[in-house]
């Protein structure tokens, strides 16, 4: 034991001696170096911007990428005489004096914090700043990273945007160690996949001079770039859809009916990710992603469900006819078909293309509200689709009591509310013969080395059983909608389109528009590869169908992108194609 005790003692002596040596080294040999560093407090940390992962479409085309840029930054600690600096900057780069002074006084910091004054400096601005560097203590040009979205507002709802991390976010996500000024995804995929896209910061420890300008690097830490996302989106369809919606309010969503892969998702108006403040004040709800959060009555598109229910329940045969005289009376109330004078005797093969309200109203009363709602539920209407985009709304599947009655329900004017995405899911079910695929936009997540971190495959939510006969009748009807019916303006020579128009009054208080026009379709009718839904606020369904046609033409024949649609003869370019059967409107129409 004494031996071991002595060894103990030796270890202790050796270790303490080692500490003495280290302190000798630091405090005597390296003393001048450390004293100099400490006297000026001149150590700063310069972070490399963290390169965020890229987002690409299914073909590898860039949708969002980080690009090197030069930013004007300032260090509150090194800033002397903010007023003079601000005045000089106003002269040099035309910045707003008041905003600058506000920024200077609002940012307090320890010696290592730097804040961005202006992103993306031009070459000219950089040389001006450098020229006057000596009069700008605490202000410098620093390489940084800037997020660019090649499609601009055309992809803003899908991708979202990056914003400066808020104080609440810093506090609520302590583990992430955010600092004021850090970027964080604030919307869309950038928000949902923020943790994966964000890399880990690297940085330099630098020695700075009395003006705060960098002298030399003391240490460096490598950064880790973020993961990248590959989407199911097809950039060319997304772009075409965005162009079509330019200046309008509405939405477009395209899906592959064979898998649920979203090919395009556009909502309009959009917002400029560089100017969020402006968008916040803009009218028409630019931050509303209408595809997933716009809740509309389905309008006549719902007639697909009414017809399915009628045929499947055996309440109507293919050739059973109803006479449309232009109006019908139900309990002292007069309901009108959209066509004055009526469609005459119609069977289901004519009623769907003509979108005859009398036919479907009669059918709906036979089917009953209970059954209609059951079929709506079967098609997952009024229920979140589960798409991997934040902010999805479910719509509303009412009970029988609050449904607004079987007649209103049958033509999509009841209390049922759906999103354009749910309409797309519905039309895709007809296209693929009964499968409800979960819609998704992210296909793969890749790490910085290109290795797959996670791959998302298609997910069958459920299969709706629809008999072959019913499907055949439905599909024929939808084709006829485009050949001679209300959706004729979507007709194109490149593919056979099958679809259904719809118009309704939006009961949703978020919308300023009273009516919307919608068109849900798939193409090619024989072998569908795309399901497409176009919804327009304050417009008719004919216009929506025309936009759908133009987008589909670019899908099926990318070369003809510039060709006009004038060759298409539009017989039923009606506006609106059917009236809204909510009570007050009925009264109005009755007076005409």
């Amino acid at each position: 034991m004494e031996d071991r005790l002595r060894i103990f003692q030796k270890v202790i002596r050796a270790a303490l001696f080692l500490l003495v040596l280290q302190c000798l080294y630091l405090q005597v040999i390296r003393f001048p170096h450390y004293r100099r560093l400490s006297e000026r407090n001149c150590i700063r940390i310069v972070e490399f911007g963290i390169p965020r992962g890229e987002i690409t479409d299914r073909n590898g085309r860039t949708l969002a990428i980080d690009r090197t840029c030069f930013n004007l930054v300032f260090s509150p600690y090194d800033l002397k005489n903010p007023r003079r600096v601000a005045e000089l900057l106003t002269r040099l780069i035309g910045a707003d004096l008041q905003l600058l002074l506000e920024e200077f006084s609002s940012r307090k910091g320890n010696p290592f914090d730097r804040f961005v004054l202006k992103r993306n400096l031009t070459q000219e601005e950089i040389s001006k700043i450098e020229e006057y560097a000596f009069q700008l203590p605490g202000v410098f040009v620093q390489a940084g990273i800037d997020r660019t979205y090649p499609l601009g507002t055309g992809s803003c709802h899908l991708l979202g945007y990056l914003g400066e991390v808020s104080q609440e976010q810093i506090d609520s996500m302590k583990e992430e160690r955010f600092k004021p000024g850090d970027r964080i995804g604030q919307y869309g995929l950038e928000k949902l996949y923020d943790v994966l896209l964000r890399g880990k910061a690297g940085g330099y420890q630098v020695e700075v001079d009395a003006l705060g300008h960098q002298r030399r690097v003391l240490g460096k830490t490598e950064m880790t770039p973020g993961n990248s996302l590959i989407l199911t989106i097809d950039q060319s369809i997304q772009e075409a859809a965005a162009q079509e919606l330019e200046g309008k309010a509405g939405s477009v969503v395209a899906m592959d009916p064979r898998s649920g892969e979203i090919l395009a998702l556009v909502s309009s108006p959009g917002f400029d990710s560089y100017n969020i403040a402006k968008a916040l004040r803009a009218p028409r709800q630019p931050f509303l992603n209408r595809v997933v959060a716009g809740q509309y009555p389905p309008g006549s598109i719902f007639k697909i469900v009414t017809e399915t229910a009628g045929l499947e329940l055996g309440l109507i045969g293919e050739h059973d006819r109803v006479e449309c005289s232009g109006e019908m009376t139900l309990r002292d109330r007069v309901f009108h078909c959209w066509k004055e004078g009526g469609h005459g005797w119609v069977d289901v093969n004519l009623a769907l293309p003509y979108s005859c309200n009398i036919f479907f109203g009669t059918l709906g009363m036979n089917v009953g509200a209970r059954n209609l709602l059951d079929y709506a539920k079967l098609f997952d209407l009024g229920k979140k689709t589960g798409i991997d985009i934040p902010g999805e709304k479910p719509g509303h599947l009412p009970s029988v009591e609050e449904s607004g009655g079987s007649l209103n329900l049958a033509i999509g004017q009841g209390a049922l509310l759906t999103t354009p995405l749910q309409m797309c899911q519905l039309i895709a079910v007809v296209a693929n013969g009964g499968n409800i695929w979960k819609p998704f936009v992210v296909k793969k997540i890749l790490d910085p080395n290109g290795k797959i971190v996670k791959e998302f495959s298609q997910e069958l939510k459920k299969t709706v059983f629809i008999s072959e006969e019913t499907l055949a009748i439905l599909r024929k009807g939808l084709k006829n909608v485009v050949i001679f019916g209300t959706g004729a303006s979507s007709r194109i020579s490149e593919a056979v389109v099958a679809g259904k128009t719809g118009t309704a009054q939006t009961a949703h208080r978020d919308f300023q528009s009273a009516t919307y026009g919608g068109f849900a379709c798939y193409a090619d009718a024989e072998r569908p590869t795309i399901a497409l839904v176009v919804f327009l606020d304050n417009a008719g369904s004919g216009q929506a169908a025309r936009i759908a046609g133009r987008i589909l033409r670019k899908v099926f024949n990318p070369e003809s992108a510039e060709a006009t649609s004038s060759e298409t003869t539009v017989e039923f370019d009606d506006l609106p194609d059917e009236p809204v059967l909510v009570a007050p409107v009925v009264e109005e129409r009755g007076a005409i």
Binding site: I12, L26, Q27, R35
Partner: protein
């Protein structure tokens, strides 16, 4: 003049002296830009008083009683360590609040493990593997609980206590080595059991540069702070590095920097000499006592104090990775201070009783 003061008195006087230095440094810290340090200084003052009170309370408490008490204490603190997972709070949830004060069961576990292992090994044939292995099991339970908090520094200290006491008790070198290698080989399995955030903390512990703007940054700053003190230091209350909060946590894990900056190499040497004398007194007590149990306690306390001193100063001066281990008597923290005084009290009694033989 040459009248010898007994080692136990030196021990007690030294612990007072060291606590006083700690208070002095915290007082200096309270003159800096961070306001909360004023409260820190006053609180530590209360803790030091509590420690002295504790010392006088237990100085005449026969150290051999701990042998009987240790089993009860062991299980009591194991339960508290489990409890911490449910009711713990504060940074990394290590504290338990009782009445007005928070305390850290893991700090007290160090002391309990020392008296427990000393008792266990002193009664048995440590050369036998089963006995050695039993001691290992006794250590592993609190070790794992503390590791999962996660409090790597204290967990590491518990292991050091085990190896030191086992070594002094006469464990075979082959046993010690086999346990070390098994531990290294088994570590990947532990790793898989951990949660992501725990892994993250351990990774940062092992490689501070993973957290370049946090702890990695601290290393350079703490070296600057120490180095800029020079030979004579900047003078009491005149440190600049620490005052401007270039170094966070300088009242706990980096308190050594404060001393090095204001009192320079002279202060550093004085502190190290004080610590050396302190450890030397324990050694003297161990040599003079004939009681195996008492010696093992001395060994455990030596290992505990020495490791804390070495790791803490080694970390601050940049030769060891950053670890949250307090400097005995100097760092702010009530639990650690009380445990230190407890150790002094037991050694005092040990030395007094052993001379009676």
């Amino acid at each position: 003049m040459d009248e010898k003061i007994s080692p136990r008195m030196v021990l007690f006087i030294e612990s007072l002296l060291l606590s006083l230095i700690g208070l002095l440094l915290l007082f200096s810290a309270s003159k800096g830009v961070v306001i909360r340090f004023q409260a820190v200084f006053l609180k530590q003052l209360v803790w030091v008083a509590g420690g002295i009170f504790l010392f006088f309370g237990f100085r005449n408490f026969d150290y051999r009683h701990w042998r009987k008490l240790s089993l009860f204490l062991y299980f009591f603190f194991i339960i508290l360590l489990i409890l911490v997972f449910f009711v713990g709070h504060g940074r990394a949830g290590r504290w338990i609040r009782i009445g007005f004060f928070n305390f850290q069961p893991s700090e007290f576990m160090k002391f309990v493990l020392i008296v427990g292992l000393a008792g266990y090994f002193s009664e048995r044939q440590v050369e036998r593997f089963s006995v050695f292995f039993g001691g290992l099991c006794i250590t592993m339970v609190p070790f794992l609980l503390v590791l999962l908090q996660p409090n790597l520094g204290t967990a590491f200290l518990l292991l050091i206590i085990f190896f030191s006491i086992a070594y002094l008790a006469g464990a075979k070198r082959a046993h010690l080595f086999s346990v070390l290698t098994t531990g290294l080989l088994a570590s990947p399995f532990f790793w898989m059991m951990l949660k992501d955030y725990q892994k993250q903390r351990i990774l940062i512990f092992l490689n501070p540069w993973k957290d370049p703007l946090g702890k990695g940054y601290n290393i350079l700053q703490s070296k600057i702070t120490i180095g800029s003190g020079g030979i004579i230091g900047k003078g009491f209350l005149r440190g600049t590095q620490t005052k401007l909060a270039f170094l966070p946590e300088y009242h706990t894990d980096f308190i050594f920097c404060l001393l090095a900056e204001e009192f320079g190499l002279i202060g550093v040497l004085a502190l190290l000499v004080l610590y050396y004398i302190f450890l030397k007194q324990i050694y003297n007590i161990m040599i003079t006592t004939k009681d195996h149990y008492g010696r093992l306690i001395g060994g455990g306390v030596t290992a505990l104090f020495f490791t804390q001193i070495f790791v803490n100063i080694g970390m601050a001066s940049g030769i060891l990775p950053v670890a949250g281990i307090p400097l005995p008597f100097l760092s702010y923290g009530g639990s650690a201070l009380l445990v230190s005084f407890f150790c002094v009290a037991i050694l005092y009694n040990l030395s007094k009783n052993s001379t009676l033989f």
